[in-house]
């Protein structure tokens, strides 16, 4: 039995802008408007706008909120200033990834968690299962919308819409626009400079129109996926899972093992001490080949050593790119592998991450 896919508050505006939709994590979302390649290039060279309202907004507040989140999340919130944003993980006891998310520190004791669309219910259930006195969890995913504006011209778009400067990377400001409150953050999932907005559903139409008027091109999830893959940003459910840890995914810099206690810490500490058995690597096709996609076998000397977790033709490089978990001895840069595509074998090489260094990106 399949339930009807949900629609964001921007569904009608996006249909009017020519959106072609697919079901993504239970949501009817634009996969593209004109062309994934065109939308990808718009973000790399000018500016694109994505509806990310399917993602979840969960507010955590209260006198114990900070201490409690320190125990629930893998990264160290003490390093996140007020008005700052931090990439982090919800882990299970085995150190596996329940979700990867961004925490926005709205105040000393007030936090916004931006979580993946397909994980909202699971994340909230996990949080509520562990909640303690002095902590309030408020899931506003249904009443809030979000837009991501990304690309070298995003700062100009921001000025035109808000008449002020775009917030710096990994920081945010609270603004008033169209008689409503907007959280504007210097975050994104494309590698380019840009911003993300979080606001009440009622502001959607006005903000969408203002951003389009300022020249941003409507973009769909297809371009969002190729853009993030060029940066080797993981997609939960593909590159991350409850059976893979952030250490295996190469995201140890977002795991604060120096914290004395957080869920999954003991498992990660043990894994680090024992040595990893898999590492998430970046693979680039080195011969003419069909685009690699998720779940293609990866071979070394005729033996299957792993499978791709994500893959695409990189619009920027014009070559196939993928990620895969491989044993550490096969995860060295320059290691040659083969990717099996429809019964044929194509050469690829383990590359240093990321595949692409955006010219507009500022140091984090």
């Amino acid at each position: 039995m399949t339930s009807q896919p949900r629609r964001t508050s921007l569904f009608d505006q996006q249909k009017a802008a020519g959106a072609r939709c697919i079901n993504f994590g239970g949501w009817e979302m634009p996969v593209q408007f004109t062309s994934i390649i065109e939308e990808h290039q718009a973000v790399r060279t000018t500016c694109g706008v994505f509806d990310i309202s399917h993602m979840g907004e969960v507010f955590v507040s209260g006198p114990r909120a900070f201490d409690w989140l320190q125990r629930m999340m893998a990264n160290d919130l003490a390093k996140c200033p007020a008005d700052g944003a931090q990439y982090t993980f919800l882990l299970n006891e085995r150190g596996g990834v329940i979700d990867d998310l961004i925490v926005y520190r709205l105040a000393e004791d007030n936090f916004l968690l931006l979580v993946n669309a397909a994980k909202i219910e699971e994340d909230v259930a996990w949080l509520e299962q562990h909640v303690t006195d002095g902590v309030t969890i408020d899931n506003r995913s249904d009443t809030m919308s979000a837009l991501a504006v990304q690309g070298p011209q995003a700062p100009r778009v921001f000025r035109e819409v808000f008449q002020c400067e775009m917030p710096a990377r990994n920081s945010f400001v609270a603004l008033e626009k169209c008689r409503g409150a907007v959280i504007a953050a210097g975050t994104g999932y494309t590698g380019e400079t840009g911003f993300e907005l979080f606001f009440a559903n009622s502001l959607s139409g006005d903000l969408w129109a203002a951003i389009l008027k300022a020249g941003a091109k409507p973009c769909g999830l297809g371009a969002r996926d190729t853009l993030r893959l060029e940066m080797c940003y993981p997609l939960n459910g593909s590159d991350l899972s409850p059976d893979r840890t952030p250490l295996e995914a190469g995201l140890g810099m977002f795991v604060a093992l120096h914290k004395t206690d957080f869920i999954g810490r003991d498992a990660l500490a043990a894994q680090k001490a024992a040595g990893l058995t898999f590492k998430l690597v970046a693979l680039r096709m080195t011969e003419k080949a069909p685009p690699p996609r998720a779940h293609y076998p990866v071979l070394v000397e005729g033996r299957v050593v792993g499978e791709t977790t994500s893959g695409a033709l990189s619009p920027t490089l014009g070559e196939g790119i993928a990620m895969a978990y491989l044993p550490p001895d096969l995860a060295q840069h320059g290691q040659t592998v083969q990717i099996e595509i429809r019964g044929r074998y194509f050469a690829a090489v383990v590359e240093k991450k990321p595949f692409y260094h955006p010219s507009s990106a500022r140091p984090a």
């Binding site: 994934i36 390649i37 297809g222 069909p290 685009p291 033709l313």
Partner: protein, 125 residues
């Protein structure tokens, strides 16, 4: 969408241009428009036997790989070599430069089961 009058159409959005006992196969304007951004074409092998309604080729857009079903039974005589370097010809010229393969028809009476241009126009609305 362009639906030329001199072709026959499969419900799965392939066309065939018949000339005696041979036919040239491609995908329709509607199909290329739905797929968009074709970046790779895996044609059948010359000499391969293809079967009506069975996968004969794969066309890949940025987003997905799509099977292309042969509109008729027969043997592949030739494939469009240009698509190896210029797969986007399927987008820009689906009925001419973007053809996929040429085949010898082993069962020409099958063609009667394919759709007329008018029927195909009705299908794609």
């Amino acid at each position: 969408m362009n639906v030329p009058d001199d072709l026959k159409y499969a419900e799965t959005h392939e066309w065939i241009r018949v000339d005696g006992d041979t036919g040239v196969v491609g995908i329709t304007d509607h199909a290329q428009n739905e797929l968009t951004d074709i970046v790779y074409v895996d044609p059948p092998k010359v000499g391969a036997v293809v079967t009506a309604g069975q996968p004969a080729a794969v066309v890949e857009s940025v987003k997905a790989a799509s099977d292309i079903y042969s509109p008729a039974d027969g043997e592949v005589l030739e494939v469009n070599a240009s698509l190896s370097s210029e797969p986007a010809l399927v987008n820009t010229s689906p009925y001419e430069s973007g053809w996929l393969y040429k085949m010898r028809l082993s069962n020409p009476s099958q063609l009667d089961t394919l759709k007329s241009p008018d029927d195909y126009r009705t299908q794609i609305g």
